[in-house]
């Protein structure tokens, strides 16, 4: 069965995010003065196969743990959907 996962990798709270700060400044200088904060992260859309949802979930968790996020500074969560269906589950 084919799966699609949208993995969101975010900086842990408290870690300085100069990229987010720069974007926030940019937005404010464009006239969006009420923007008080921006945090920048990564969005990874994965396509892969797994026999069933439970193993697909486990695979994404493992991919995040081993490669996609570095726990020293990042957290990851994801949305997993079976391709050609619309069921959405949220994991963390």
């Amino acid at each position: 069965m084919r799966w699609q996962a949208d993995v969101h990798v975010r900086l842990r709270p408290g870690i300085a995010d100069p990229e987010g700060q720069t974007i926030a400044r940019g937005l404010r200088s464009l006239g969006f003065e009420t923007v008080s904060d921006v945090r920048a992260g990564k969005l990874l859309r994965l396509a892969f196969e797994a026999p069933e949802r439970i193993s697909a979930e486990a695979a994404v968790a493992e991919m995040c743990r081993r490669l996609l996020a570095n726990p020293v500074m990042e957290t990851a969560d994801w949305e997993l959907r079976a391709e050609e269906t619309t069921a959405v589950g949220v994991g963390a």
Binding site: I15, A16, P18, E19, T22, K42, R66, L67, L68, N70, V72, M73
Partner: protein
């Protein structure tokens, strides 16, 4: 003693291996490149992880490199007390691999930065720093976009307490001041060693400071430290007899 045998690890996007090989010639080291898919380091006296963009530095610097087959050999060499130097991308790989604590984040100003950088030598122990003096200011090139050292406060305190912060970004007079910090590293950290002190990770490029003609020789002094350290290692000396 015979010439130090140094393994220079090459990931697909590594480039400072060429400069290390050149400097190895100046130091009269017997240096050999080791491709990242190799599992055997070839019984070296020291291992160098040079700068570059190991796998394009996509995702995170060093994130993919740490899984390369050669890294298992590097890790066990390090665990056995062997001399390991990770410079720039090599430092990033060592932190990703967990051999050294912390992580190197994008420079606080978001730009790549290439420049000569004064550094204060905080400790001169271990294989790579013995030729320098504590408290002295040396100058080495930096060249990175992701060199902002970060670790949790407790980890930083532990590093400081155990004397493992060995190099700090400084101004020309050796003062560690915020203006001299080129990337926003916490506590101006430019280089650290592991608990045993045999593994050094640093963002600067010692191999680029080995000849006056191209700007300076402090890097050569740093690298040359290895020779004396090896001689002082009875176990190694015996093995080499």
């Amino acid at each position: 003693m015979s010439r130090p045998r140094v393994a220079v690890v090459v990931f697909p996007g590594t480039w400072s291996d060429r400069d290390f090989m050149h400097v190895a010639g100046l130091l009269d080291w017997e240096a050999r490149r080791v491709w990242h898919l190799d599992t055997d380091l070839g019984d070296p006296d020291a291992v160098v992880l040079p700068g570059g963009f190991a796998h394009g530095d996509y995702l995170r610097t060093g994130a993919i490199a740490r899984f390369s087959p050669v890294m298992r050999a590097v890790e066990s060499f390090a665990a056995a007390g062997g001399a390991v130097l990770g410079s720039c991308n090599g430092f990033q790989v060592l932190t990703e691999a967990g051999t050294l604590p912390g992580v190197l984040l994008r420079n606080d100003h978001l730009e790549f930065r290439c420049d000569w950088q004064p550094l204060r030598v905080e400790r001169n122990t271990g294989p790579w720093l013995g030729g320098l003096s504590e408290g002295e200011t040396i100058s080495l090139p930096i060249s990175h976009g992701e060199g902002r050292y970060y670790a949790e406060a407790a980890v930083l305190d532990e590093l400081e307490a155990s004397g493992r912060v060995v190099l700090r970004y400084a101004d020309a007079s050796g003062a560690v001041v915020p203006e001299a910090n080129p990337n926003g590293s916490l506590r101006s950290i430019a280089g650290i060693v592991n608990e045993r002190g045999n593994v050094l990770g640093l963002m600067p490029h010692p191999e680029r400071a080995a000849e006056a003609e191209v700007g300076g020789t402090d890097g050569l002094r740093l690298l040359r430290s290895l020779d004396a350290w090896l001689v002082a290692q009875p176990a190694l000396a015996e093995r080499r007899l």
